[in-house]
Amino acid sequence: MTAQAGARVVLDPTGEKRPVARERVPRPASLEGLTVGLLDISKPRGDILLDRFEARLVAQGASVKRYAKPTFSKPAPMDVRKQIAEECGAVVEALAD
């Protein structure tokens, strides 16, 4: 990575065996028995999209929990994020309009 002028740069303290960018969490191997959170960000028609997700996920063996942000214009409140992290193995966040 080439550092941009003026950017804050630190030196990598590791053995440099892993990429700098944060790695993604591995995809779940199966939906069977997985609890999937469906997060409605409170945009119009997001609920319709998530209703379809719910039907299809349940058909494939997952269980579903629904959550909603108070408004799409701000990040999800900490307690919502915490609740999803505690209760779910995966999450789908729906845009719509």
Binding site: M1, V9, V10, L11, D12, P13, T14, G15, V20, R22
Partner: protein, 479 residues
């Protein structure tokens, strides 16, 4: 690294307005500009000196690259090569170099200059980073605009659970001033990932741990010691036991870097003690990839796995230091690594005779890991001043104490075998008739330190000893 700027041919002067001698020679420079090919680099004020068209060197790019230490400095340059250098104002030299015979007739014969801004201690680090960036090989990690630099280290898994100092290049270069070794020199191959760890990587982790540059040689020696086959940091890391590396520092460096060997010696409050031990653990974690829950399989661990490092009180000790016991020359700086668990207090406020106090030690040492386990584990016996006095007054040296402890810790097999005392843990029944020592020869390591008041000592039980476990390892600390 930016390319070194070439000097123009002719005379080249470096000045700053903040220097009285430079102000003094201002008319001289104006005079030279009339008669010679002159370039003046100005370090602070682009309008100074008057009477010439100065070149702005406020970035100090030209001054730094040409090693200007004093202003004014006058150079004679031919085809980009410096052929002569005059430092400060010296009339005869300026006349000779410039070929202008009546130069500065109304000025004093000589006047010393001032320090060049390119060697200003306050700016030296920043300039070294700007101009010397390619010295360091580590991957650069750019933080996102909205990323908090302290949180960034946690997010990337670089922290032991406490905040770390962000390892900027400026801080790492300052840290590297603590050693004469090249940043690229390989210190050790660090388990479990078996990564070659350079001086630079040690320095980065030492910055994060909070070390000062003068601690770096101790950290480097500790990394060397930890990664030997004898010390076996891989096994010590991977064990389910709670043990970790413990560092004991001997030699004059203890005082030079302000280590604690007195009150609260095993506790908090001393930067050198705490950060040196932490730096070693961060090297194991970050360079070696040894993390709790991964290769580190400790059931409980112990708080000392954050950092466990202390100095022996050689000046106060009636005994030889640990370092010479382990073969080092007296007065040599060393770090000894011992694989140990958390320390445990031994109280004896009544014994005034060495025989009695030795017995107190023996009954407590018997319980190391289990009273029915023998020979498999060493121990460090940290003797405080008030206990040590009981032995020294009676003329007991360290060897005498160790000999007494070994003889008090010869244990009948009947007490050690499985089922003895109603406890299933124990040795095979065939050893019932044997007498076995609690510790192998060399397995008791007394160290002297601690505060002046308190009739206490401390026991630090070791991890599995011998070829399959870990041996105490001493390394000389080199600058």
């Amino acid at each position: 690294m930016p390319a070194e700027p070439l000097l123009p041919s002719g005379l080249v002067a470096f000045v700053k307005r903040d220097c009285p001698t430079c102000v003094l020679v201002e008319p001289v420079l104006a005079e030279l500009a009339k008669h010679t090919e002159l370039t003046v680099y100005t370090q602070d004020d682009p309008a100074f000196p008057g009477g010439v068209e100065p070149v702005d060197d406020r970035t100090l790019d030209v001054s730094w690259h040409h090693g200007i230490e004093t202003v004014p400095t006058l150079l004679s340059v031919r085809d980009g090569e410096e052929t002569e250098r005059v430092i400060g104002w010296h009339r005869e030299d300026w006349r000779r170099v410039s070929g202008v015979g009546d130069l500065g007739s109304d000025l004093p014969e000589r006047r010393p200059g001032c320090g060049s801004l390119s060697v200003d201690p306050d700016r030296a680090g920043e300039l070294a980073v700007r101009f010397g960036a390619s010295r360091l090989a580590a991957r650069r990690v750019e933080l996102a605009a909205l990323e908090d630099e302290m949180e960034a280290a946690f997010d990337r898994g670089w922290s032991d659970g406490l905040p770390v100092v962000p390892p900027t290049e400026l801080r790492v270069l300052a840290m590297l001033d603590g050693t004469t070794r090249a940043p690229s020199e390989v210190v050790a191959v660090v388990p479990p990932d078996l990564v070659e760890c350079t001086v630079e990587k040690v320095a980065i982790n030492a910055v994060m741990a909070g070390c000062r540059p003068e601690y770096l040689p101790v950290v480097i020696a500790a990394v060397e010691a930890a990664c030997t086959d004898e010390f076996n940091i891989h096994g010590l890391l991977a064990t389910t036991m709670s043990t970790g590396p413990i560092l004991v520092v001997n030699g004059p460096i203890r005082r030079a870097i302000g280590m604690n060997s007195g009150a609260n010696v095993l506790g908090q409050g001393n930067r050198a003690n705490l950060t040196i031990g932490r730096a070693l653990q961060l090297v194991i974690r970050n360079v070696g990839g040894g993390r709790p829950g991964e290769v580190d399989r400790a059931t409980f661990g112990n708080p000392g796995k954050l950092s466990f490092c202390f100095a022996e009180d050689e000046e106060g000790s009636p005994w030889t230091p640990l370092s010479t016991d382990l073969g080092a020359e007296a007065g040599v700086d060393t770090v000894t690594l011992f694989p140990g668990e958390g320390p445990r207090n031994v109280i004896d406020q009544k014994s005034r005779e060495p025989e009695s106090l030795a017995r107190t030690y023996a009954v407590n040492l018997r319980s190391v890991h289990h009273p029915k386990m023998v020979m498999g584990f060493d121990c460090m016996l940290v003797v405080g001043p008030e206990h040590a006095r009981v032995f020294s007054r009676a003329g007991w040296d360290k060897a005498r104490l160790i000999e007494e402890l070994h003889s008090l810790l010869q244990i009948p097999g009947s007490e050690l075998i499985q089922g003895a005392g109603g406890i299933a843990e124990g040795l095979p029944p065939a050893l019932e008739g044997a007498t076995l020592p609690k510790f192998r020869q060399g397995g008791i390591l007394p160290v002297y330190c601690g505060g002046g008041a308190g009739l206490f000592s401390m026991i630090i039980a070791g991890w599995v000893n011998g070829a399959t476990g870990s041996q105490p390892v001493l390394r000389e600390i080199r600058p």
